[in-house]
């Protein structure tokens, strides 16, 4: 039933001909991927990927697997939310993984306990100053401060110098990793307070990830900030001519990305009960990959947080699926690379197709 509606000015258009959102295609890809693992599992292993097959557990789905799928992408997912709005604004952030490392080290050093098993904590960095057993708000605020500072430097470099975001954040990537190693001279920092450890316990990372995703999807869709992200990403000159303060906006975009990376660092170090200088290596690329798989265009202007969340789930399904099929972990990385390239090619192909139809 082709329903014809009248547009403004009397031109008619077919209401059913509206192109469906790009997220729908990504979601379809997720379903197909799960279906493929299910099929391969049934045929070759005689086991189900998605459904429960254990006799003593009475659930329809394999809940343990579903939890792992989302839990293992939650922390990088938090970073991916920040990266998504950077890419939509026409930039890129390569520093988030290193910012996670540096922030985890610094924040954890303010979250340590004074005594371990009745003895003074030998590893507490600030035991001499008495900065132990601090309320949980202190390390969290310290972390946010770190992320804010890193983002402020990134954003200022991108907005006020002619350094491309790729290079500016590459510099921050190297520098922040240096800070992470220097902070405790390479030693891991451990023994957090109970309240700090609670942040990353159980399914808390998932709850934090989903809450932040909902918040930022709303911000991108319904606020001036979100509108300007898309405007700057699709035509920076037009945005400037329209009176948008492009420089301030870019700084804010990178500051938010930095803060989200630092929140990911808090969740990660809390979940692991320790902070190490090598934490978060390659997270920036995984986060960018989640966004790109989720339909965020690397040339800016297009994408959404919903897409990135689905992209993150695709990521999780691939990792779990490979484990399920008992394939070597090495293959995972190789396949990840192929999928990223595939997603970009698919996006360009889809754009060309649409342009031809218009």
């Amino acid at each position: 039933m082709a329903q014809t509606t009248h547009g403004v000015g009397g031109l008619s258009y077919d209401a059913n001909k509206r192109t469906w959102p790009a997220e729908f295609n990504v979601f379809l890809a997720l379903i197909i991927l799960v279906g493929a693992f299910e099929l391969i599992g049934r045929v070759f292993l005689g086991d189900s990927f998605l459904f429960n097959t254990r006799a003593n557990v009475h659930t329809i789905f394999n809940e343990a697997r579903l939890q792992i799928i989302i839990l293992q992408v939650s922390i990088v997912g938090i970073i991916a939310i920040g990266v998504t709005q950077v890419i939509i604004s026409g930039g890129i952030d390569l520093s988030s993984g290193s910012v996670v490392g540096a922030t985890a080290m610094i924040a954890m050093s303010f979250a340590q306990v004074a005594t371990v098993n009745g003895n003074p904590n030998p590893k507490a960095m600030f035991i001499a100053q008495g900065w132990t057993d601090l309320p949980v708000i202190v390390p969290v605020l310290v972390a946010i401060g770190c992320g804010l500072l890193a983002g402020l430097i990134n954003g200022t470099l991108v907005a006020y110098t002619r350094i491309p975001p790729f290079i500016a954040t590459l510099g921050m990537m190297v520098t922040a990793r240096g800070v992470a190693k220097w902070w405790s001279k390479g030693q891991p920092i451990s023994f957090p307070t109970e309240s700090f450890a609670a942040i990353g316990k159980g399914l808390m990372p998932v709850i934090i990830f989903i809450s932040l995703a909902i918040l930022f999807q709303l911000i991108l869709s319904y606020t001036r900030y979100g509108k300007h992200c898309y405007a700057i990403g699709s035509n920076e000159d037009a945005a400037r001519m329209s009176g948008i303060n492009v420089q301030n906006h870019k700084i804010l975009v990178f500051v938010i990305a930095g803060i989200l990376a630092s929140l990911a660092a808090v969740v990660l170090s809390s979940k692991n009960l320790t902070a190490q200088a090598g934490m978060g290596v390659m997270y920036e690329l995984d986060a960018i990959a989640m966004a790109v798989i989720g339909g965020v265009s690397l040339s800016g202007g297009r994408g959404s947080i919903i897409g990135t969340v689905i992209g993150a789930l695709i990521f999780g399904v691939i990792i779990s699926g490979f484990t399920f099929l008992r394939l070597d972990a090495y293959y995972q990385e190789m396949v990840k690379g192929v999928i990223i390239i595939g997603a970009v090619v698919l996006d360009q192909w889809r754009q060309r197709l649409r342009a031809m139809r218009a």
Partner: protein, 255 residues
């Protein structure tokens, strides 16, 4: 004097040693549509860039809306009521029509600084009103600009100037890249603006279009205004001879 919207006196712009614009005296009255014609490099775009403050003039004075003005930049000029449709349209490809019309001046529901909540319903309604007022035909407001034809893009750019209470609209070759039908659509919009009494400066190379649409033709040649002709006092051959330099001297209008 009171019905003069825009007046320039000895407006001059040098780029180093190049005299791109020299001593331009120009007047535009309320409701008047004026065409600026001339060869490439004659100073038409330079003249417009001084008025819209995209560039800062070397010397000369400008009055707009009864006051002498000295705009710091294009945004200040726009806020004063001068809307320009640029040759390279200034639209964000990935945004829909209302977002483009309100780009940089979004209507806000709650003010929360940069995170202010947008009043999408109001902007959609205002967009529909602006499109009706300018008689612009856009099939679907929710379509992004990327999926529109050149003519539709041009119409959105023009509708944007009519959305806000502009006192002067400047169009720099609005139909240069358009097909026959799209050109007609844009010309109809210009006629609607004329009927609404909105003053317009039109830069165009299209003689037929100019004689169809405007009241007065100002010819630029080598950085100077060489002719100021009422449409009924002139014809195409006359204008061409001023453009090519076959005829010289400033034809002044009385009053």
């Amino acid at each position: 004097m009171s019905d003069i919207v825009l007046k320039t006196e000895n407006l001059t712009k040098y780029y180093g040693g190049v005299h791109a614009l020299e001593g331009a005296n120009f007047e535009l009255r309320k409701g008047e549509h004026v065409a600026i014609m001339g060869d490439n490099g004659a100073g038409k775009s330079t003249f417009v860039r001084q008025i819209t403050a995209v560039e800062q003039r070397t010397s000369g004075r400008v009055w707009f809306d009864g006051k002498e003005v000295n705009f710091a930049g294009p945004i200040a000029a726009r806020e004063a009521g001068i809307e320009t449709v640029f040759q390279n349209l200034a639209l964000a490809d990935d945004l829909d029509v209302p977002s483009n019309l309100f780009l940089g001046r979004e209507k806000v529901l709650f003010n929360l600084g940069p995170f202010s909540i947008l009043d999408r319903k109001f902007m959609r309604k205002a967009t529909e009103a602006a499109l009706i007022r300018t008689a612009v035909k856009i099939p679907n407001l929710s379509n992004t600009i990327r999926h529109m034809s050149g003519g539709q893009r041009q119409c959105v750019a023009i509708a944007r100037t009519a959305t806000f209470a502009s006192k002067l609209i400047i169009m720099d070759e609005p139909t240069a890249a358009l097909g026959v039908q799209e050109t007609m659509q844009v010309e109809n919009i210009i006629r609607t603006l004329k009927a609404n009494g909105e003053p317009l400066i039109l830069i165009s190379h299209n003689m037929r279009q100019v004689f169809d649409l405007v009241d007065r033709i100002v010819v630029f040649r080598r950085g100077r205004i060489v002719a100021n002709l009422r449409k009924q006092d002139t014809d195409g051959n006359d204008v061409v001879s001023y453009i090519t330099g076959a005829k010289t001297g400033e034809a002044e209008l009385a009053g």
